[in-house]
């Protein structure tokens, strides 16, 4: 159920000009028929969330095609024109570098970068926000980007690092596949962060764009020899604070 200013949306008509098959349309319908309540102060707030979810999905799809490599934190690499690699394997935006250009560079020169799955999620969020806000506003909001999973995140993005159980898993949510019996030689496969994509697919950096059973199969291949517990998808999802971010939309 969707509530706008405490009132349920009366019909199934889509706000804005979204089609039913678009990401926005699919999310809207999932929310509308859900038993959970999705409450907004205004229709603009709802539309902002739908648009940002679409950009998250687009950004995940593009990152998948970017040639970005996979590496554990100790082996990460980045394009030093835009980023400084920190000792813990994170990427710190270089002093004086243009934040929007630096994010775009990851997409355009993906092969010059290598990182693990959670940092890839942060890259997806920054790209989605760049497309949502536009370059000028993005640059004024995110002057000091630090990419390293959820360890140190911008206050505006901290909500994505604290997943919570959710009634619905919606397109653009961050999901998580846990792998309790992971081989200690490959702790990076103790779980896989994914973006929930259309068509029953999940984008997880290092594994690819796959259905859930394939992700579980891939994770299971990285378990200890005497493993007894299969990898599985958790009930929790990570979501940006859409309402907070909507305040900055012009």
């Amino acid at each position: 159920m969707i509530l706008i200013a405490n009132k349920p949306i009366s019909d199934a008509s889509l706000p804005g000009s979204f089609t039913a098959n678009s990401v926005e349309g699919q999310v809207f319908n999932a929310m509308r028929v859900s038993t959970a309540q999705y409450a907004y102060d205004s229709i603009q707030q709802l539309i902002f969330e739908l648009r940002l979810r679409r950009e998250i999905v687009n950004a995940a799809d593009l990152l998948y095609r970017s040639g970005l490599n996979f590496a554990v934190f100790l082996r990460t690499i980045c394009n030093e024109v835009y980023w400084d690699r920190t000792r813990n394997g994170g990427f710190q935006l270089k002093s004086g570098a243009n934040p929007a250009q630096a994010i775009r560079d990851i997409y355009e020169n993906g092969s010059q970068y290598a990182t693990e799955c959670a940092t890839a999620m942060m890259i997806v969020y920054y790209k989605a926000l760049l497309e949502t806000y536009g370059e000028s506003q993005f640059n004024s909001m995110f002057k000091n980007i630090y990419l390293m999973n959820w360890y140190i995140t911008d206050p505006l993005l901290q909500a994505v690092g604290t997943p919570k159980p959710a009634a619905d898993k919606l397109l653009g949510d961050r999901g998580y596949f846990a792998n309790p019996d992971v081989d200690p030689q490959t702790p990076q496969w103790q779980g896989e962060n994914v973006i929930i994509m259309p068509g029953g697919l999940y984008y997880g950096h290092g594994l690819g764009m796959l259905p859930a059973d394939q992700i579980i199969e891939d994770l299971n291949e990285n378990r200890v020899d005497d493993a007894t517990v299969s990898a599985y998808m958790t009930d929790s999802v990570g979501r940006p604070d859409f309402k907070l971010l909507a305040k900055y939309a012009q």
Binding site: N69, A71, L74, R87, Y151, Y176, A178, P187
Partner: protein, 262 residues
């Protein structure tokens, strides 16, 4: 400690890495057997073996090395080949007494050495394997030391933290809680973050009261605690363990005579 130092150790520590490597190269030219004997010295440490790896690897002297050094050179070769961290060393997948002993030697003699990224990668891998495959609790203090040392140096700690808490033992929480009262505020903050004490110690005026409050909470809830398996890849503030409120509540009712025991 000083008395038991091998000759190569003394050169490395007192004259530096470069001199140690030069000295070893000269020794190899003069006598490979003598060079191998220096490496085989039982008091040699892992950092020195690691430093001399490239001098040992291409030489015939490998065949003159003892079992410990041959195995460690083999493991390092496999680890160094792995550019992304996705590879596996087959020896490390199978439990073997001798591998266990060799890995422990590497960690015990090498955990305090400030090495490069590849060195850290090797030590992290050994600790994870020892703690999880071998369930070797003797490694917990070494992992704990490294978590705080690495954090102080701005290095990554995710895998070490994961392996440290993997034992799902209340004693591990108590041990980590000791750092809540550290004079080093960064150390105390990290311990608070790892133990997720924010809710438990809210309102505590200082580190000492936070520590006391956490220990009381542990004592009160120990029978009802369960480990969640959360980690730093999943959440920015993973909750390592939670209280099973339902069980705790039911138990209290039973104690108070308001509910029949199961």
């Amino acid at each position: 400690m000083q008395e038991n130092q091998s000759y190569l150790e003394r050169v490395r520590i007192h004259e530096g890495n470069t001199r140690c490597m030069e000295f070893f190269e000269q020794a190899c030219v003069q006598s490979q057997r003598r060079a191998a004997a220096m490496i085989n010295d039982e008091d040699l440490t892992f950092p020195t073996l690691y430093l001399l790896y490239s001098s040992i690897r291409p030489r015939q002297l490998f065949l003159n090395l003892n079992q410990r050094n041959q195995q460690m050179i083999h493991i390092l070769t496999e680890l160094k080949k792995d550019k992304t961290g996705n590879g596996k060393v087959s020896i490390l997948a199978k439990k073997q007494l001798i591998t266990h002993s060799n890995l422990k030697w590497a960690v015990k003699t090498g955990y305090q050495f400030d090495g490069n990224t590849n060195y850290d990668f090797a030590i992290d891998t050994f600790i994870c394997v020892l703690l999880i495959t071998y369930r070797d609790k003797e490694m917990l203090p070494y992992a704990e030391h490294l978590i705080f040392a690495r954090h102080r140096d701005g290095k990554g700690i995710h895998d070490l933290v994961w392996a440290y808490f993997h034992h799902r033992d209340i004693r591990v929480l108590k041990q980590m809680a000791e750092h809540l009262q550290s004079n080093d505020s960064r150390e105390a903050e990290l311990a608070a973050k790892l133990l997720d004490t924010e809710r438990i110690c809210r309102g505590c005026e200082n580190a000492q009261s936070g520590y006391t409050t956490y220990l009381k909470w542990l004592e009160e809830n120990e029978p009802y605690l369960f480990f969640t398996g959360e980690n730093m890849f999943f959440s920015r503030r993973p909750t390592i363990c939670k209280v099973d409120q339902e069980r705790k509540y039911r138990q209290r009712n039973v104690r108070a005579g308001t509910e029949e025991p199961e």
